[in-house]
Symmetry: C2
Subunit: 592 residues, 2 copies
């Protein structure tokens, strides 16, 4: 199947006199997760991870992805001609380096890539790198998938719904007014907003165009007076139409955003080249383009009181479902017949019984023993592993409720463990707790805190290659920026009101994986003569399996944290359970 697709592609490359084509993982909105229509990289390569770039020349094909997907990609690319290129591993060439060599003797030195699914900044960088490597050129106005992907999915047409002000905590009028003030501060007359969750947040609207993400396909153009939403009108209910009309927001067809940028009537416009597609960017006709980051991601990242309360409500519901599920899990595994997929389905069912449930916030990762070492493992009928009453089951999952989004990882002992498993489990927990205990100066970025969660692991020669934490949306995307806690430099400071996950893990290929994740909320700690300090409030409510813990590896402070956390979990969840579940929870949250 992949071979046939590559053949079709190469026919087009020859016809267009292109030496290669680059398929990235994005859409016209710089989305991390995209609607099916834009899953071109998956279609051409067969690799379905959430990050990766496929590059095909007339003779060869290669796929770049990061450490989360090394094992999965190797399995999925087997039998195709795609080579796996491991990002951030010594010796892996960049795409431009590889193409420079591959096309050295090629007739055409031109490379194709869809400017519609690359940001302007991506294309600019790629163009520069290709020029440096053998003087390759880049053509961005040709979407080869339109010719070769015959059954390409259509644009989604799901209806849009209102997010009540009671949950959003701020009206769209107030948000637009704050955005316009931020624009005036940098002397900008307006901006183009393309990121789907930014648009959903600004307009207090939600959709279901992207699997697990409550967003809708659109662009939003904000002028000094006028606001225009570019969206397929068929998605607008009467209620949403009249809501937008009341706000004086004009709607125009989705496809006409480029035309509007050509006719921009004000002096200048702010465009974030890291957000807006190259295809739209090159249509902007203004006296000046202000290339600056949009201020909306930071506004959205700082949750207001209503959003914070919504997140707490969502975490409580999620915790109830999780406790019921863990209570059910061990006996069910002992009874036999359970698999990674079956227990994931049970968890989804329990969550769906909670009020305001709207679906999963990402596909559940349930990896038993060696599958737990595949960071973004998703069980398929072919890989689905029967669960046995021993070893570790790593479950990373989350849900969308109308009042908040959840993301939690627990690693659960299904029975006896090895000494190595207990040690690794305890060290991961140490890092997880140490970060939650941290006080830190207001203004510190996540990069500056990252080592706190890693230190207990580093001391034992262990490390993980993924980030320690990311923002979580308020009934929006489960991965939210711009702040992150990770080793790579992310300058955005953590601010009071931001959500962030705390999810260290260890992955020992072929053996097992451990990760423990809570969602935290940044709160004020204290103000002293050395400045203002922040701390974390833990939002996630679910017991952490204490049976694998080697208590001698925890400090008293760490034990105290765990005991206090468990006391809080019991207090908040117990009265939502039946007697049997409550007794189990009492045992599960018993002090160390």
């Amino acid at each position: 199947m992949i071979a046939k697709r590559l053949e079709l592609l190469r026919e087009e490359l020859r016809r267009e006199h292109l030496g290669a084509y680059i398929f990235n993982t994005s859409d016209p909105h710089n989305s991390e997760y995209t609607a099916d229509r834009w899953k071109g990289r998956e279609w051409i390569s067969g690799f379905n991870g959430s990050a990766g770039t496929a590059v095909v020349t007339l003779k060869r094909a290669a796929l770049w992805t990061d450490s989360r997907y090394f094992i999965a990609a190797e399995q999925q690319l087997k039998g195709t001609e795609f080579l796996l290129m491991k990002l951030k591993i010594d010796g892996t060439p960049t795409i431009a380096e590889w193409l420079g060599k591959e096309l050295a003797d090629n007739d055409s030195k031109e490379v194709g890539a869809d400017g519609g699914t690359h940001t302007a900044a991506d294309i600019e960088e790629l163009r520069g790198e290709l020029r440096q490597h053998g003087g390759l050129t880049l053509r961005t106005n040709f979407d080869v998938l339109q010719r070769i992907w015959k059954d390409r999915p259509a644009m989604p047409l799901n209806p849009i719904e209102l997010q009540p002000t009671k949950l959003a905590g701020e009206t769209t009028e107030q948000k637009l007014s704050r955005i316009r003030k931020a624009l005036r501060d940098v002397h900008a007359d307006g901006m183009l907003m393309s990121q789907l969750d930014d648009i959903a947040w600004t307009l207090n609207l939600r959709g279901s165009d992207v699997h697990c993400c409550p967003v809708f396909i659109s662009h939003l153009l904000i002028g000094s007076q006028q606001t225009t939403l570019f969206v397929d009108e068929r998605k607008l209910t009467t209620e949403v139409k009249s809501y937008l009309a009341d706000l004086n927001i004009t709607t125009r067809p989705y496809e006409s955003a480029g035309e509007a940028l050509q006719k921009w009537g004000e002096w200048n416009i702010l465009i974030d080249p890291n957000e807006v597609s190259e295809a739209l960017f090159r249509q902007v006709k203004a006296h000046e383009i202000i290339r600056k980051p949009s201020s909306v991601p930071i506004m959205k990242a700082v949750k207001n009181e209503a959003e914070q309360q919504g997140m707490r409500n969502a975490m409580l519901k999620d915790g109830i479902a999780l406790v019921k599920w863990i209570r059910w899990l061990k006996p069910a595994v002992e009874a036999g017949g359970q698999t990674e997929i079956s227990v994931s389905q049970k968890l989804e069912q329990l969550r769906s019984e909670q009020p305001l449930y709207r679906g999963l916030s990402f596909d559940t990762i349930a990896g038993y023993e060696e599958h737990g070492a595949i960071v973004h493992y998703e069980a398929t009928p072919e890989t689905d592993k029967p669960l046995e009453p021993h070893g570790l089951l790593l479950v990373d999952s989350g849900a969308q409720y109308q009042d908040g989004t959840t993301d939690i990882t627990r690693t659960i002992a299904l029975g006896p463990l090895t000494d190595e498993q207990r040690k690794v489990y305890t060290l991961v927990l140490k890092g997880h707790i140490d970060l939650q205990l941290l006080h830190f100066p207001d203004g510190a970025s996540g990069t500056q805190l990252d080592a706190i969660a890693r230190r207990p692991l580093w001391q034992a020669g262990l490390n993980y290659l993924h980030g320690t934490g990311h923002g979580v949306g308020a009934y929006l995307n489960v991965h939210e920026g711009p702040h992150q806690i990770r080793m790579e430099w992310k300058p955005t400071p953590l601010r009071k009101g931001m959500t962030v996950t705390d999810e260290p893990g260890i992955y020992l290929e072929g053996r097992f994986g451990v990760r423990t994740e809570n969602v935290l909320l940044v709160q004020e700690a204290e103000e002293t003569e050395c400045g203002r300090f922040l701390r974390f409030e833990t939002l996630t409510l679910c017991p952490i399996d204490t049976t694998p813990i080697l208590p001698e590896l925890l400090s008293q402070e760490e034990k105290d944290w765990l005991n206090q956390y468990h006391a809080m979990v019991y207090e908040k969840i117990a009265h939502h359970l039946n007697d049997d579940e409550r007794l189990w929870l009492q045992e599960a949250t018993r002090p160390l």
Copy 2:
């Protein structure tokens, strides 16, 4: 005096139709510490800290400096018209913002700055910012100090000496060959080297043109075949002349570097715009300027075996001098008559008795009680404080030996302390020890490790605004890049063989300051399935005062580190002492 200088300056500004002039703290070599000739910012403002920028308009004057110097600058600027502008404090305008406002109604919108003492990158950035703030322009080819600083010190003419290969560990031929290989790797035909310590390292030569820094004023032009040293010939001894001749290195007058850049005969040239002055940069005539960081700072930062051994030798000698000094200190203070300056002189004298001593590596900071809270305090006859047998004396000092450079801070209890002093002392020590105990992945940068030293302080609402660590030269500058351990992003990874200081501190204005500093050497720790890990070897050999410690605040691991460190200090130093000193050291290094 300052008023008179400002008057002279303003006369010239009017004559040249300039609205303002900017005096930075550097020289034509982007030096942190400069020869007296380039201390123009100090001359015009009276502020003598190692970092700061003075800006003078026709009506006003202001000085920007960082937190290390807030207290000192306030004192030194008193009585002048200079306003103190505190960097990184909310509300402090940037220079461009301030000038934009100050010159809003001014006749001339042109600002002057000496392109000879600003790097090309600095000028480019400044030019852009000035343009953004009221459309100010920048003139860089006019050094106003030449007109108004009548008794400006001449170019230094101190003789240059050879650094023996036995101590350098690598010949200049080998170094030039490595540099040329690095140039070929980025397709560069040559480079201009301007940083004085890079030149001294490359040529295995040392000088004494800059107070405390064993460097000599010069530029080095490296072509694919030829190497040219631009230096005043009078500085070259017969020995050095014949050494350079043997290496086929041509010497040319210092002033002719610009001319050589105009006549550059090869295709392209690598210039690091963050290293080379704007005045030289604008003279480069090549088909292409490759604007990239020089690879020399990283080569120099990784110490070879001979340099490592030299550093260990230097640390031992420094430790002996320090132990003799601390042994002497407390009784001397009790006897009375000692001051910050007198005890600094005693320390300098003891160091000067050690073999291969060449001078201090920076002016000693000896701050008693509230003076300890002034981060870069240097006692003057006016501020010199008598020492009494109570409270804390913070001493940050270092020496140049021909085999290595030292940098050490100890905070010493001269007698009874307050509870607050003991608590802060112990928490600083915790952070200091935690960093030394750390194992970390090969490839981690200092920014990623910085929080480890700060965590115990943050938890108590304490913090310091300076960096945690910097590289230390091998008989070169005491501050060496490009790696650093600090909150600001410094991407250079810590690599095996690099030296780095570990110097957390706390400064409570008007009360006291605490800092504890050792020099560390990056070593290999282990290689596991999670990658290669590094650790630190402690080079500094000197007891840490245990009398202020609150033992209950230290973990067992921290206590073990301290006891092992003290056992090592005793073992290495004891047999170099007389009986009385040895008994004292035995007591000072007794396990907790």
